[in-house]
């Protein structure tokens, strides 16, 4: 049983504790042999966070719970499409949740597909080095986010976690649209700098 970290510490081991491979391995077991126990573990680790995410996106508790169930069922169904070198299990599951949210909460077409639908420039085999780099990248992104000025972190969170468009953020905070965009850009540049040498 994987210990579930209830509140990810800022050093960022988070859901993938204790090792970067565990959640990816559970996904692999689901893909290869329809392992129900592996599904239970993933559900325990991710459903509460998906539910929290859906509630931040404006869903009531009941709807959020249903969407968490549906997200994890989609993970089961699509596990064969997950490929480790395209990103962490958390990234992949978060993307499924994000797409489901667009589809169900906003009732819009999901135009941007899962990350494994892209043919990224730097796609290569999942070398052990790359798996380590993935973990390192995650820690550095979390560290960079932790050092952002609060006004930058605020717009980034409103965009990623609350699902607001730039215009909606501008309205919410009473800021010019240009200010919202420049804060987003500055935040990204800081994150990019922190992982530049890992590319």
């Amino acid at each position: 049983m994987i210990p579930i970290v209830l509140n990810a510490p800022p050093d960022g081991r988070g859901l993938n504790a204790p090792g970067p491979l565990s959640m990816a391995e559970f996904l692999q077991r689901i893909a290869e042999r329809g392992d129900v126990e592996a599904f239970r573990k993933l559900f325990q680790a991710y459903a509460p966070r998906v539910k929290a995410y859906m509630m931040r996106q404006g869903a009531d508790a009941n709807t959020a719970e249903e969407l968490a169930q549906e997200t994890l069922l989609t993970v089961w169904r699509k596990a064969g499409l997950y490929s480790g070198e395209k990103g962490s299990a958390t990234t992949w599951i978060f993307t499924i949740a994000r797409n489901l949210r667009i589809d169900r909460l906003r009732r819009e077409l999901t135009w941007v597909e899962l990350p494994d639908g892209h043919n990224e420039e730097a796609s290569s085999d999942a070398l052990p080095d790359e798996i380590l780099a993935e973990q390192e990248r995650k820690l550095r992104v979390q560290a960079a986010l932790a050092t952002l000025p609060p006004d930058q972190l605020e717009v980034v969170s409103l965009s990623y976690i609350e699902g607001l468009s730039h215009s909606e953020i501008a309205d919410r905070l009473g800021l010019p649209l240009g200010t919202v965009k420049s804060r987003m850009r500055l935040a990204y540049h800081k994150v990019r700098e922190s992982v530049e040498d890992l590319k």
């Binding site: 239970r40 069922l73 135009w111 941007v112 979390q142 986010l145 965009s159």
Partner: protein
């Protein structure tokens, strides 16, 4: 295809967050299908979403894992290996094929003015924005206009130019509300663009304002 104009970093972030209004998400998805460079940027940005998601305080769930439902489900299998290649079929980017088919020549264009044709793409909630294809005849000038909100244009065929440069197939003009421009279509090929608009455009001249109801953009 050499792409020289990309969406802003702020727009790419909003795309990675899944927070763009639908019209813009459609333009962005189409550009991404054509642009390996922006796919790389997005994959870095996805770590931001993951990090924030990872740090959300979890909300306890009241129902158990839906294991009974698993048996009834068929697994999705990769159709062409683990990674389906994003791309462009003809000159219609993959994400648009479901609404346009595979050829820009089959689009049921509606003439909206001299040398300008339009095809509206219906959105789930039209009140949040407007998405349309615009076809401009070779050398045709589009009236000088500014925007009430954001506008994002992706060139699909041909080219156009304005004060900020030349935009060819794959290029994106990611304009905010303060920018005014007067695009001219390529003198030989003309131009077909996909345009997302948040607010209605505002034309500068009185003549252009009179034309606006007819051009619809």
């Amino acid at each position: 295809m050499k792409i020289t104009h990309h969406p802003s970093d702020a727009s790419l972030m909003s795309c990675s967050a899944g927070s763009m209004p639908e019209a813009f998400a459609a333009v962005m998805a189409s550009h991404i299908a054509m642009c390996p460079c922006c796919r790389g940027t997005l994959s870095t940005m996805e770590h931001i979403g993951t990090a924030l998601f990872d740090q959300l305080p979890p909300t306890p769930v009241s129902r158990p894992a839906p294991v009974a439902a698993l048996r009834a489900m068929d697994a999705d299998v990769p159709s062409q290996g683990p990674a389906q290649e994003a791309g462009v079929l003809g000159d219609v980017p993959d994400p648009l094929v479901k609404v346009l088919g595979t050829s820009l020549d089959d689009v049921p264009w509606k003439r909206v003015g001299p040398g300008v044709w339009s095809h509206n793409i219906t959105l789930s909630d039209p009140s949040r924005g407007d998405l349309r294809l615009i076809k401009i005849a070779p050398g045709q000038v589009v009236p000088d206009h500014g925007h009430h909100g954001n506008e994002m244009t992706l060139v699909l065929r041909g080219a156009y130019s304005d004060a900020s440069g030349v935009y060819r197939a794959g290029d994106v003009a990611d304009l905010d509300e303060h920018i005014e421009h007067q695009p001219i279509a390529d003198p030989v090929e003309g131009c077909i663009c996909l345009i997302a608009v948040e607010g209605r455009l505002k034309f500068k001249s009185r003549v252009a304002r009179l034309v606006q109801p007819f051009t619809g953009f």
